[in-house]
Symmetry: C2
Subunit: 146 residues, 2 copies
């Protein structure tokens, strides 16, 4: 997504404004995660593990909105660094059960802070009330398109 100029009639449209702000948001979050040695998928899977508990890779991907193909690579990275444990499921030997470790929980808490900081930076220009309104409206738009 290019972040440069655009014709006036495009610059005013909600779709363009949403894309631009989303780009800013993505950059802030990616930079924050990057500085913490993580990527978005890392956070998605760690958070999903903490929310739902241990799961197979396929289930993990479904819950966290990550393609099962990309779960493989992400779990590789996370387990190399000791944030998750990948162990064969004794009950169903096709499956790897992925479990959050202590270090993974700590890493997740760190990333939670990073994510919260990115939100603050993103919406720094808006007063509290407007932030809530923005979230409300976006939820409403999203619900309408589900």
């Amino acid at each position: 997504m290019e972040t440069r100029g655009a014709p006036a009639r495009l610059r005013g449209t909600p779709s363009w404004l949403l894309n631009q702000t989303a780009t800013v948001a993505q950059r802030l979050v990616a930079d924050g995660f990057g500085a913490a040695g993580a990527r978005r998928y890392h956070y998605s899977l760690l958070a999903t593990l903490e929310e739902f508990g241990p799961a197979s890779q396929a289930e993990l991907g479904r819950r966290g909105g990550v393609d099962r193909s990309d779960v493989v690579a992400t779990v590789n990275e996370l387990s190399e660094r000791g944030f998750v444990l990948r162990s064969p499921d004794p009950v169903d030997r096709r499956r790897n059960v992925v479990t959050l470790t202590e270090a993974g929980s700590a890493h997740l808490r760190r990333l939670d802070g990073v994510l919260a900081g990115a939100q603050d930076a993103l919406l720094a220009a808006l007063p509290e009330h407007d932030r809530n309104e923005l979230v409300r409206m976006l939820n409403q738009v999203l619900e309408h398109h589900s």
Copy 2:
């Protein structure tokens, strides 16, 4: 951008909501343009031409926020269909001057309608007042990050 589930602590964040709504917006716009046989770059360049008048490809790219490399391909497509004219600049023979044709203007008007329709579909769930508020807030966030 995947449009599926996500962990709860991510689903509530402004950055995630912005990315999701931006994805919806992109899909609506891309589908609309696609049905009209166009892509986003087509609109950007046609609108830029109408806004600023004829220009070299490099200038066109700068004004419209399109990479000079992609301007080449886009102008190829637009000129093949008679929407723009690409003619050598007699004053500076490195340049191609790109000009909007009558057919190009008509096409642009069609795409303006498509774009407006996509905005309506996107924000169908919001009353007029909220739409204006949303646009105002997004502009404010964007200005703060410029």
